[in-house]
């Protein structure tokens, strides 16, 4: 069959373009490769993790330093969260972790607050001080209950 360099060039560019597109979708948008610096693994136990997901971000003062690697059920039925954070950070051993929500409907993430201890957390250590996720439904439930009891008193008064 006759060689057709021009056509071959177009086919080559088409395939290349498609592969670059797939790579962009997978790596940049799909986030396959992004692990950040990573390296230091810490464990934190909470009473309640709410809707925290794998790959949720871990921040200090709003700066992303890592992500959630695994969420399991640990001892005493307490959720156990493994964090994968930047290995270059020397976090004091009295660092605390809390689960926060980005905005009212946003995703949940973990915020670390470094303490003042001179000892440093090493890989595999667990974070002692944790604050669980706030579950909006329970808050609303409490609020409604309180309001409800207030109303019944008032209606009782008016009788």
């Amino acid at each position: 069959m006759r060689e057709e360099p021009r056509r071959d060039f177009w086919v080559g560019s088409f395939v290349l373009l498609g592969l670059v597109g797939i790579a962009y979708l997978s790596f940049s948008i799909g986030g396959v490769s992004y692990r950040g610096p990573g390296g230091l693994q810490l464990v934190a136990s909470f009473d309640e993790v709410g809707s925290l997901k794998n790959r949720a971000k871990v921040v200090i003062g709003g700066v992303k330093i890592g992500q959630v690697k695994a969420i399991q059920l640990g001892d005493n039925f307490r959720p156990r969260v493994v964090l994968d954070i930047d290995g270059r950070l020397a976090l004091p051993s009295d660092t605390s972790a809390s689960i926060l929500t980005a905005g009212v409907l946003g995703d949940q993430y973990i915020a670390l607050e470094p303490g003042g201890d001179s000892e440093v957390l090493k890989g595999g250590d667990s974070i002692q001080f944790t604050q669980s996720a706030v579950i909006l439904e329970r808050l609303i439930g409490k609020l409604v209950k309180n309001l409800g009891s207030g109303d019944s008193k008032k209606s009782g008064d008016s009788k």
């Binding site: 056509r7 373009l17 498609g18 797939i22 997978s26 948008i29």
Partner: protein, 260 residues
């Protein structure tokens, strides 16, 4: 029609449908076999990728851009009611990557390249070119059908990816440039919402499966066309109809099996 005749007609139809399905399966298996066995005929494959893939680029990219713009507009209007217009990137991206990209690309390519493929092979049947090949002891499955089918399988995921990227660009143009949303929020909600294994891989698999479907249906319809001019046109028509409908049906099952 007597009741006996009606039942016989139903029986005849069923036997015909089963026979057609069986022929299609045998045909698919022989195409797969032809792709595995030398001679591989890579030059023929390149020529067919040019016809199927490169020549479909323009229509796929333009359609993707238009669909992205519509999604941007509709998504913005709907999300703004809930004050969640920041999430526009996630809505546009997920809709395109998971569903609209692969499905619409498949429908477009079935109409643009699938019908041409079926008509070309059917014309070769009518003009006895396939018989000519057989006389020269060249297997037409090997020389004509397999390169076309594999070109479709190769092109579909690539075209679908480009559809998705142009759609995301279209959504960006409407949501950010025209309606004045936040560009950073568009991209970051998109990147947060899209997971590789659940969304991107699922979309690529859909693209591949649709490529197999459209490629095999188009070549089968052409290969088994009745050797008349009406046969050529009915091969092209039925390719578009059957490929489009089966794309939509198979899409449901892939989503149901893959989705969580």
């Amino acid at each position: 029609m007597t009741p006996f005749g009606a039942v016989s007609a139903l029986g005849g139809w069923t036997v015909g449908a089963v026979r057609d399905l069986g022929r299609f399966s045998v045909f698919s298996a022989s195409v797969a076999d032809a792709g595995r066995r030398p001679p591989l005929r890579l030059r023929r494959l390149v020529a067919e990728v040019y016809d199927t893939g490169v020549l479909s680029l323009l229509i796929v990219c333009v359609s993707g851009f238009a669909v992205g713009m519509v999604l941007g507009l509709q998504g913005h209007n709907t999300l703004a009611r809930f004050g969640a217009d920041q999430q526009l990137g996630a809505v546009v991206g997920l809709a395109l990557i998971r569903e609209l990209g692969p499905v619409l690309t498949s429908l477009l390519v079935a109409g643009r390249a699938g019908s041409a493929m079926a008509a070309e092979i059917a014309t070769m049947v009518v003009t006895e070119q396939l018989d000519g090949l057989r006389m020269m002891s060249v297997d037409p499955l090997d020389f004509v059908v397999a390169p076309k089918a594999f070109a479709m399988i190769l092109s579909m995921p690539l075209l679908s990816t480009l559809f998705v990227l142009f759609g995301i660009l279209g959504g960006y143009v409407i949501g950010v440039v025209v309606l004045g949303g936040d560009g950073g929020a568009y991209m970051s909600t998109l990147e947060d919402a899209v997971e590789f294994s659940e969304d991107v891989l699922g979309g690529l698999i859909k693209g591949g499966v649709f490529g197999v479907l459209v490629g095999l249906i188009a070549t089968y319809r052409g290969f088994t066309a009745t050797p008349t001019s009406a046969g050529v046109s009915s091969a092209a028509t039925s390719t578009v109809v059957i490929a489009s409908v089966s794309t939509l049906i198979v899409d449901y099952f892939i989503t149901a099996l893959w989705g969580t």
